[in-house]
Structure formats: structure tokens, C-alpha cells
Symmetry: C2
Subunit: 386 residues, 2 copies
């Protein structure tokens, strides 16, 4: 397993980061273009706050944890300046998207813009400490906590009370976010968060009878026999399991690490396509037709997050199932997603593993999952050879 | 071409209508189940107002135009009773969906629920005249007109003013709706609508340089170089062209009929998949990656609406291109969508024409496009042999 480390390191440093440095900077208006075609050319100039924040986080974190390369810091500052100038409405909520020159296009209907803005400014503050960055990160974090139970606000289309559901996304991100913010919040505040977050992810959304983690459950954690309630998103749950392993490391909880590893393997077995390989995007737990027409597609983030989870599961527990699966998922992922010719990785394949959209970045894919995963796998597997 | 008529008639009467009569009635709460699996079994009990309204319209129209079969009228009344009892909020807006027993699940965020409710009660009033039905149809129609320029209301996520766009869907439906309501509105009021509706469909959304009809344009009808603005939905435009042909018939405008036929052929040539056959769901006019991950899928409604447009184009103009295309689209559609074993038609195929979801009905597919198209093709081609 340790032999993979240098491959992941080289891919990160020689392919992925240069691709974004070379292609995504908007030199006129600041910020990043993320809609990049196969060759890295900008095909749409809209800017999406999720991806601006994720880019700032990525380059700040590389500067912090890989090496203090001045062009990485400059890239992070470049994105942050755009975000700071145009990103928020008067109440401090982050818009979803903007025109190239920073005019808001889509309202702050989506709290994950705020989550990634928090991550961005917290990470930037580590490498370029600044009261303004700290304040943006903390104010946004408090705003997320204030909005967390009704974050859709007026955009919520659910009729109140008929079928209340809890969704897995926010608890899962808060778990990652509190660790990212530890230098600002202080360990005591983070310690307060941890038990709740672990409980949400490991108990509320986990279903004992199937051993699976659901995307939506009734308020008491029971199964909801509805389109939303039957939905399984294997990649999402697998990603959450490596967040849990990291939390387990932080609080020295071996049981948590082992349980997360077991559940990650279970989700992967469940999500794997036995016919064509790769991990399904969505499944219906009762094998009914899911709502999502893209259910059988193979997405980049699902596969790279799985590689992280398998690497950590192996490094932290020595479970051989993780190594066996890693070899298989690695082979599938590098063969199907990586573009040998023009750099970076494809995002969207059809069920058979053929390229469905040949973009390298878009409305939802930016400089985030691929570099974060390459970094995590590299650093995790590197420890094995020591 | 006229030889197809009896095939379409038999399919409608012997396969499609019995399938819905046998499987979709909720005998306990009224209304229709539409989430039906391959064999016609209910896999989800939620009820969607679009599909309740479309079912009422369908059975009323069959009773009106095919034969006064009492079970069809009973079926229409069965759906209408559920809609009347549970369908609207206190302001007369139609909810999007309900639980099986009529509790609202999703708010009236979507004006097309109102459009299909109007169609439903207008059609029902023709076969079972009733002051209440007439009032529901007319009140809802006036409500649609009142809301038409800001129908998303508080659910609209666009930031005001940055990139205003006009969407093709509502003008297109209003065109069909005004004809469906003629017995209630009177010919004079319908005559008032017609020029505006024709202008919208044939001028505003039509792009001279490409000969294509767009889904979204700037307020002045010019091209918007954005994900929304680059979007082409061939099936949607083709469906609109047969509405235009019908309008052309009504106002004796042969030029309109010929132009609609030409544009329909152009959209079909553009939308056809040269590699695997079938019509793409979405394309980006600049050949950039579209936002919609389902862009390359083959959907039932796209294909059956195309058959209607081709049949009408042929019958009204004698254009041989329509006949040639009809043979091809007919062969593809009947081979790939029709289920020989359990009746009715599949809705969703992948690009290669393999079944993607084996449902016969769901959140968006009910008793509507297939029976309406079979009826329209049957009646249109039947006239050729006279």
C-alpha cells in the first residue's frame, strides 16, 4: 500500500494543482473560473461560491501542509479577495453564484456555500493570519449554526409538518468543519461539538437492520418509506466515514475508527456495480426506481473519497479488506477518470465507465475533491513506510 | 402512413388505458397512484398534482372523443374528487404533491400543477357539465394569468435583475391550454390569446441563425450565453410545433403550419442521436457540457410527442420528410419503449436505448403523454385513408 504514496503525491503536484493554477484564474475580475472544458479552456464564466471557497481552502491547505509555495498563497488570496468583495448579502449569507464580474446571480438559498466559505477563510487565516479572515470565518460559522435547523428558509418547498425529514448533509459537513476551525474556535468548543456530530452520523442516519447509512430519516431516526427516505448515496456515506475516522484519531477512540471502517466497507459493497465496476451515485434501498435519473452514473468525487476512506481504514486498522478494495477502486478510478492527454480528471462517466461530460470543472466540480483526496491518500499511505 | 392508425388505436385501447384503469386507482383515498413498477404494482403512494390532473384530462378526453365508456368517466370523476377535496391552498394555488390520504407534502411552487388542473376540470366539464368544475377551471386559469410573469414567487432563486430570462414552458402550455378551454372562455377570448402565443413560440424563442428553438432567452429574445441560455430541449420544441400546427388549423394559417413543420424537422435533425438512434433529452447549443447529467438519455415523452408532430406535419402538409422520419422514430420508439411482457411503456432509457428505470409511472410519468400521443396519431393518420 505504501507504494501508492508517491503516485498520489506526483499526481497532485505535477498534474492537478498546475491545471487549476494555469486555467482557472480570472485575471480581470479576480476569483476562479471553474467551468473548464477537457483542455482547460473556460466554457462558461459564471462563478459558484461553493467552488470559490473550495479553491481558496485547497490552495491555503496545500501551502500550509505541503510547502509554502508563494504561487499557492497568491492563488488562495486571489480567490478570497473575490469572495470577500462580492460573496455575501447584507445579512452575511453567501450567494450561490455570480457573474464573472461579481454580480449576484443566485440567492443564498444553499447553506453549503456558507460552509465552504467558512472552510476557506479559516484555512487562509492559518497561512496568512488576518483579523478580517478570522471574522468572516467565525461570523459565517455562527450564522450556519443559527440557520442549521431551517436553512432553506423561504426556499423550503416542504409543507410544514406532513413529513418532516432530517438530511444527512449538514451534520456531516459540520463534523468536518468544526475540525477545520479548531484553531479559531479553540479545542474546548470543538470538544463540545464532537459527541453530537458522532451521534448524528453513527446513530441517527445509520440503520441497524441493513447496516446502511441513509440520506434522509424521520426526526426520530426511523426509516421513511418515501423517495427521499429510501435514498442511499454510497459516496456520501463513505466520505462521512473517513471524517469519523479522523474524529476517532483526534479523540483516541479505536472503536469509532473500527466501526467507521466496517460501515465504510459495507457501504462500498452495497454501492459497487457488479456488472461494470465503479460505485453507483444513488440507490433506492428497496430497489425501487430512484427519482434521480443520474443514479447509475459514476462520479469522480464518489471514487476519490472512497480511496481516502480505504487508505485511512487500512492505515488506522490494518484491515486487509481495505487494501483489497483499494487496489480495485484505485485501478477503476485511475483508468476511467484520469485524462492522460489534457491533464486533470473527468467528473462524470456513464454506468459503463465511458465519459459522459468531458469537462474538467463545472458548476459542481472545481479544485477540491481530486486534490484533497490525492493529498489525503499520499499522506496517509506515506506513514506506512515509516 | 394510414396503415399505422389501427396499430395506435389498438395500443391505446387494449394496452395503455386498461393498464391505468387496473393499476392506478386508489380505492381507499381516491385519486391515482402513479408510481407503478414494471408490472403495474404501486411502489410509492405519494400523489402528484401534475399527474392527477393529467389523468383526469386523459379519461375525460377519451370519454369525449373516443367513446362514452362509463368506466372512463368514473375514472375521471374519481381523480377529480381527490383533486377538488385536497388539491388547493386557501388562495386557490395547487399543491405539487400529497400523501396518499391527501395531506399536502410540497407547496404550490410549480404553476404547471395549476395548468394541468385547469385542463383536467375543463375537460371533465365537457363530459360531466357542472358549475363547480367550470369554476375551478376558470378560477385556476385566471390565477395562472395573474401569476404568469412571476410564477415562482418566493421560491424564485434568481437574484433580481442580474440576468433576467424568459422561459419557454409557460407560453407553450398557455397555447395548448387556451384551446382546451375554448368552450369555457368563448372563441373571442381565445382569439385574443392566439397572436401573442404564436409570437412567443415562433419568434421570441426561435433563433434565426441556427433555426432552433431555445428553452430560455433574454427578455428581448436574444441569446443568453449561459447554462440556461445555451440549453436546447428538442422534444419540448417539437411538442410545441404540433400545438402550432393545431393553432394553424384553427385559424386557417397554412404558412404557420408549414413553418411549424419545417422547424419541427430541424429540431428533430438536431436532436437525433446519430450513433445510437433516439432523440437526446438536452443539448448545449455551443456543444459545451450541459448542466443536466441526464442529457443523453432517451425519454418516452420526447419520442411520442415527436410521433404526433410528424403525423400532423405529414397529414397537414404532405411533406415526405415527415413520413420518412415517422417510420424511423416509430420503429425506435416501439422497439425500445414498449414493454411486450407487462404492458404500458418504459419512460427512461439510457443513451444506448437500454431501460434505465423500469417504472411505468412515477413522479413525472403518468397516464398522459403515451395515451394522448397514441390518440393523436391514430386520429390524424386515420383521416388519410378517407
Amino acid at each position: 500500500m505504501s507504494a501508492y504514496a508517491s503516485l498520489y503525491k506526483d499526481e497532485l503536484l505535477d498534474n492537478i494543482l498546475p491545471f487549476w493554477l494555469n486555467n482557472s484564474r480570472d485575471e480581470v475580475n479576480g476569483g476562479y473560473f471553474t467551468c473548464l472544458d477537457r483542455e482547460g479552456r473556460v466554457f462558461d464564466t459564471d462563478k459558484f461560491m461553493w467552488l470559490q471557497g473550495r479553491g481558496v481552502w485547497c490552495f491555503s491547505t496545500m501551502y500550509d501542509k505541503v510547502s509554502p509555495d508563494p504561487q499557492w498563497l497568491a492563488m488562495a488570496l486571489h480567490g478570497a479577495a473575490f469572495m470577500e468583495k462580492y460573496g455575501r448579502d447584507k445579512d452575511g449569507n453567501w450567494y450561490f453564484s455570480h457573474t464573472a464580474d461579481g454580480k449576484p446571480l443566485v440567492q443564498p438559498y444553499n447553506i453549503f456555500s456558507d460552509c465552504f466559505a467558512t472552510m476557506a477563510f479559516a484555512a487562509l487565516d492559518k497561512v496568512s493570519p488576518n483579523e478580517r479572515y478570522r471574522k468572516i470565518a467565525l461570523d459565517t460559522f455562527e450564522n450556519i449554526l443559527r440557520r442549521q435547523h431551517d436553512w432553506k428558509g423561504k426556499y423550503n418547498k416542504a409543507f410544514p409538518g406532513t413529513r418532516p425529514l432530517r438530511n444527512f448533509s449538514l451534520p456531516m459537513i459540520l463534523c468536518n468543519l468544526s475540525l477545520e476551525l479548531e484553531h479559531l474556535l479553540g479545542p474546548a468548543r470543538v470538544d463540545e461539538f464532537i459527541p453530537t456530530v458522532i451521534r448524528e452520523v453513527m446513530e441517527v442516519f445509520y440503520q441497524q437492520d441493513t447496516g446502511l447509512i441513509m440520506e434522509n430519516v424521520a426526526p426520530d431516526g426511523t426509516f421513511s418509506d418515501s423517495f427521499e427516505g429510501r435514498l442511499v448515496n454510497p459516496g456520501h456515506a463513505i466520505e462521512a466515514m473517513w471524517f469519523m475516522m479522523d474524529l476517532g484519531k483526534r479523540i483516541n477512540d479505536d472503536t469509532l475508527i473500527r466501526t467507521s471502517t466496517d460501515r465504510m466497507i459495507r457501504m462500498l459493497e452495497y454501492g459497487w456495480d457488479p456488472e461494470h465496476g465503479g460505485i453507483f451515485y444513488f440507490r433506492d434501498i428497496k430497489n425501487h426506481p430512484p427519482q434521480q435519473l443520474e443514479w447509475d452514473q459514476k462520479l469522480w468525487w464518489v471514487h476519490v473519497e472512497t480511496l481516502v476512506a480505504l487508505a485511512k481504514g487500512y492505515a488506522y486498522t490494518g484491515d486487509e479488506r481495505c487494501a483489497n478494495w483499494f487496489h480495485l477502486v484505485h485501478a477503476y478510478t485511475w483508468e476511467h477518470f484520469r485524462d492522460d492527454q489534457f491533464g486533470e480528471w473527468y467528473g462524470y462517466l456513464n454506468r459503463k465507465g465511458e465519459v459522459l461530460l468531458n469537462l474538467k470543472g463545472g458548476k459542481w466540480k472545481g479544485c477540491f475533491h481530486v486534490p484533497r483526496a490525492l493529498f489525503q491518500v499520499w499522506r496517509t499511505l506515506e506513514t506506512l513506510s515509516i
